[in-house]
Symmetry: none
Subunit: 253 residues, 2 copies
Amino acid sequence: MSQTVDRALSILPLLAQGPADLGQVAESLGVHKSTALRLLRTLHEHGLVHRQQDQRYRLGARLFALAQEAVENLDVREIAHPYLTALNERIGHTIHLAVYEEGEVLYIDKVESRYPVRMYSRIGRPVAITVAAVAKLLLADLPEAERRAVAMKLDYPPYTPRSTPNAAAFLKELATVREQGWATDLGGHEESINCVGAPIRGADGRVVAAMSVSAPNVVVTAEELLTLLPQVRRTADAISREYSGTAPTKDTA
Amino acid sequence: MSQTVDRALSILPLLAQGPADLGQVAESLGVHKSTALRLLRTLHEHGLVHRQQDQRYRLGARLFALAQEAVENLDVREIAHPYLTALNERIGHTIHLAVYEEGEVLYIDKVESRYPVRMYSRIGRPVAITVAAVAKLLLADLPEAERRAVAMKLDYPPYTPRSTPNAAAFLKELATVREQGWATDLGGHEESINCVGAPIRGADGRVVAAMSVSAPNVVVTAEELLTLLPQVRRTADAISREYSGTAPTKDTA
DNA sequence: AATGAGCGTTGCGTGATGTGCAACATCCAT
DNA sequence: ATGGATGTTGCACATCACGCAACGCTCATT
């Protein structure tokens, strides 16, 4: 890996948190100001970084454009969206769509309870990977080796008493999820929130995305939420069929 | 400018056009394959590029996550404020900045006529949503469905004879505003006060905020106030550019 | 005004670091 | 089996990125 590029790219997440001046960037990277300046200039020339008139640096328009392209390349999202809104109109609760990439699980779409808007709320944020239903679905489908590797190097924050406590429990849960073909998160992230989720599969049977329905238990109990599971699975299957081409392929090749 | 970083960043727009394999990347950059490999690896480690099953490279979802995080941490108010005070110093009248949130329109900044001091008189308070210029601008940009839903469940208080009387009239007004890209409130809230406003847009073109200039018609007539429209729009556009990270400065090219 | 602190910027000598090469590893089609 | 196309590795060279130190600038303080 290239040191220079590595440093330059490390600036991006830094600036994503908010504007920063040259000194702050240099300090965060642990390099001399002149070095940071050169890196920032290069990023600036490519439009990834923008300089506001107080001279502080921010992420630039080019990065937003690239992000747009990147998400357009995730064609699962495009295909799934109408199904998600349709399901949302029937059952009303919040619906998430997530993908696994490079050790992370990311929300790539969200349909808010009630309104079909607010699409850009928490989309893009990494998921609470050890507890979320969608995360379990995505990780459960990884090859044994990678699954173990990922599970081992995760942290297991005790969000609630029902959070997944450690790697062993997580792997066991993943095995269950893998077998039954659906997943839940019953108060594992926030005490009062329950989720049920189902996988979306590509033509080769591999899980390419996962969707879930979330609701606070003041609105529906966990048991009631589970009665929605068939609808969630049917929706996920419908998306899978369209994504992998119209033919309702069954067996994993 | 750093050559290595420059080359690495040049890969991103390349991949934005679609997936590419190592050879194609190397050729496009005019470098040896091994060099391209190292750059791609570094990008990969930062999650900016993703390797799909056929080993070709494409843009990574991390880009999306970064952009998302960046916009969440962006503060329109902070960015807009210097522009608002600058405009205020030129034209003197009261200037408002407002955003839409959860069915409401809220003032988030205000520069008082005459004094460039920030007065937190009504900041944070909901706007007279059926008549204010900023409210029209913000609601006009909502998706059709939500716009109708909001318009329907609003009250239409007859502040003055010129107030918006009902949902139908309001929706018609919103259509006009949407089309022309600016809005007015001519005595719709208080008989003697007129406003002209313009939208502030984010990188994706969506309206993230709206600004307006207000003046009592004992100081300037409605016609005179309208002559300020170009300045208001220019200011709003400048804020939009700054907000979305579009570089206004051009020198070394 | 004068002083100084803080910040961004510049030019430069040094050597760490990125570079291309060539050989190797895989895979697939012939 | 054989060849070609593609991704990967290790290495010697010199390019290119590094930190330093000095400069210019703005702003606040005296």
